[in-house]
């Protein structure tokens, strides 16, 4: 699989991203660049320090209708250089393991 970098847009005054509604909003803004045949690497801007709560419930809401959580785990990842990497991985694993 090719790597497909996705820049996720988050407003400047948000340092912690929380909840499914922003997840849906972020997905809406970047879905044009997602290619589900490839490995999509989500890159959050540097002012975002943490991604917590059910953000990914919202982000993958639409995709989860056509993809299994296994496929989502396989086709999505994160840019390890971003400050929110660890919390993104935490929330993402929580999302994957609960479903």
């Amino acid at each position: 699989m090719e790597k497909n970098i996705i820049e996720v847009n988050i407003p400047d005054n948000v340092t912690i991203v929380a909840g499914p509604v922003p997840g849906r909003e972020a997905y809406r803004l970047c879905k044009g660049s997602i290619d589900i045949e490839e490995r999509n690497i989500l890159r959050f801007p540097p002012h975002v320090k943490q991604i917590i709560g059910s953000f990914f419930t919202g982000f993958f809401e639409e995709l989860s209708k056509s993809m299994t959580t296994g496929e989502i785990a396989e086709h999505f990842g994160f840019d390890s250089n971003m400050p929110s990497y660890e919390s993104a991985m935490d929330s993402f694993s929580r999302y994957i393991s609960n479903n």
Partner: protein, 439 residues
């Protein structure tokens, strides 16, 4: 400064639902000069032991009888005020007790602040809560006393809760009426003071509003010497509950936080290690109870559709209901079952879906990890569930029974886990407290 009035929606509901037809038990009268209505609240008297009464001398302590201001007292305040408004009054109403007043917990303070704000802004009626002494020819308001534990009629000091210490209620007095700073009232909804250690905010419905508020909460806590692990735990809870409240209730919510120093026991049991209590209250303006969506999904919509996802959990909940419904009483009714259902790891979001239901699990985990004593509960409608460790343990499959047996399927909750109040919370409110070692 946010435009609070523009953001607030659905503010009437809580007021309407707590305007009772039955007259409260207190007594009201006009003062002889006619421009103030005073009302003596009927409150439970409790004795608070060993209240420090001298700032200079830590050993000086007294037992003090106080009037406990509960959510039921708040319903009385709302009922009486609406009755006065119905009769056309425009004058201030002073609710008083002859004793010191002590709010029963932080949620009560947070809601009382809102109720005072609501009547002031929406109905142009000033409400004051104070300690007062009515004699034949005078009504005396007690603002301070020589022992420094009375402020505007409220008892403060170690016996009291965090929110009160920082509340505008301590300076919102009928005696200062003419020179009162009117902006004080805005503190009822939106307030940050790093010295007083309180942060209260109203979250709007925009897609990023909850994230902005959560970011501000984190900034506030990082100024309060809460250790990083503690900040993360509180953020996990706020980050789940606040967005949930807005999404689920399609309305605004209030997040209210305060910090207080506390002491932790060392290995020998002596309280020597410094710590911080973080009190967290979250409540919304919704008209949906905690279990409303889930009840609809499992017991109403499900007649028309079969669930592929989480079918087993849904079936277990239905079986549990078949069992629980045989044991319903005034103390544990169908609404309480709906509240308990919200803890069983199923999302209330409509439709057949594999995800969700995580928010409440995160809450329970953090309460189990970081709450030393048990001050935590969730209130929805007339029913509250206590989140004490002994009630929130889960069985092997993650079901929470709110009983010591950890059995949701075959036992109803323990008596102490479910409580009732005459105050009606139309949406959902959480009263939580976490304890962390200082950084």
């Amino acid at each position: 400064m946010k435009d609070i009035n523009a953001m607030l929606e659905n503010t009437e509901l809580l007021i309407q639902k707590n305007t009772k037809k039955k007259k409260p038990k207190g007594r009201g009268k006009w003062l002889p000069f006619g421009s103030v209505y005073i009302y003596e609240l009927n409150m439970e008297t409790v004795e608070i032991k060993e209240v420090p009464v001298d700032k200079e001398n830590a050993d000086a302590k007294e037992n003090i009888s106080v009037s406990l201001f509960t959510l039921e007292t708040l319903a009385d305040v709302i009922s009486v005020t609406n009755e006065r408004i119905r009769k056309g009054t425009k004058f201030p109403i002073v609710f008083y007790s002859r004793r010191y007043i002590l709010p029963s917990d932080n949620l009560t303070v947070s809601l009382l602040e809102y109720v005072i704000y609501y009547f002031y802004k929406e109905k142009n009626i000033e409400i004051y809560i104070t300690r007062g002494v009515l004699s034949k020819d005078s009504f005396e308001v007690r603002i301070h006393d020589e022992k420094n534990h009375l402020c505007n009629g409220f008892l403060y000091g170690t016996a009291s809760s965090g929110f009160l210490m920082t509340s505008f209620l301590l300076s919102w007095s009928v005696a200062n009426k003419k020179k009162q700073d009117e902006s004080l009232i805005d503190n009822a909804i939106s307030f940050r003071d790093d010295q007083l250690r309180r942060y209260k905010t109203l979250i709007g419905k925009g897609p990023w509003d909850a994230s902005i508020a959560v970011s501000e909460c984190q900034d506030f806590l990082s100024h309060q010497k809460v250790n990083p692990e503690g900040i993360k735990a509180v953020m996990d809870v706020i980050g789940e509950l606040a967005p949930n409240a807005i999404e689920h209730g399609n309305t605004n919510c209030i997040v209210d936080l305060s910090c207080e120093d506390c002491e932790f026991p060392d290995a020998d049991g002596n309280y020597t290690r410094k710590g911080i209590n973080v009190s967290l209250v979250i409540w919304d303006f919704s008209e949906k109870l905690l279990g409303t969506d889930l009840n609809k999904k499992i017991f109403i919509d499900s007649m028309e559709q079969d669930f592929k996802h989480k079918a087993e959990r849904i079936s277990t909940i239905r079986q549990a209901w078949e069992f629980h419904k045989n044991y319903l009483t005034d103390e544990y009714n169908a609404d309480d079952f709906n509240n308990v259902m919200a803890f069983q790891k199923i999302s209330g979001r409509a439709g057949d879906r594999p995800d969700g239901g995580l928010g409440i699990s995160t809450l329970i985990e953090r309460v189990q990890q970081y709450t030393k004593e048990n001050y935590c509960y969730v209130l929805s409608g007339y029913g509250a569930l206590r989140l004490d460790h002994e009630f929130t343990g889960s069985d092997a499959e993650g079901y929470i029974g709110f009983n010591a047996l950890k059995d949701f399927k075959g036992h109803i909750p323990d008596k102490d886990a479910v409580s009732k109040t005459k105050f009606y919370l139309p949406g959902v409110a959480y009263n939580l407290c976490f304890n962390f070692l200082e950084e």
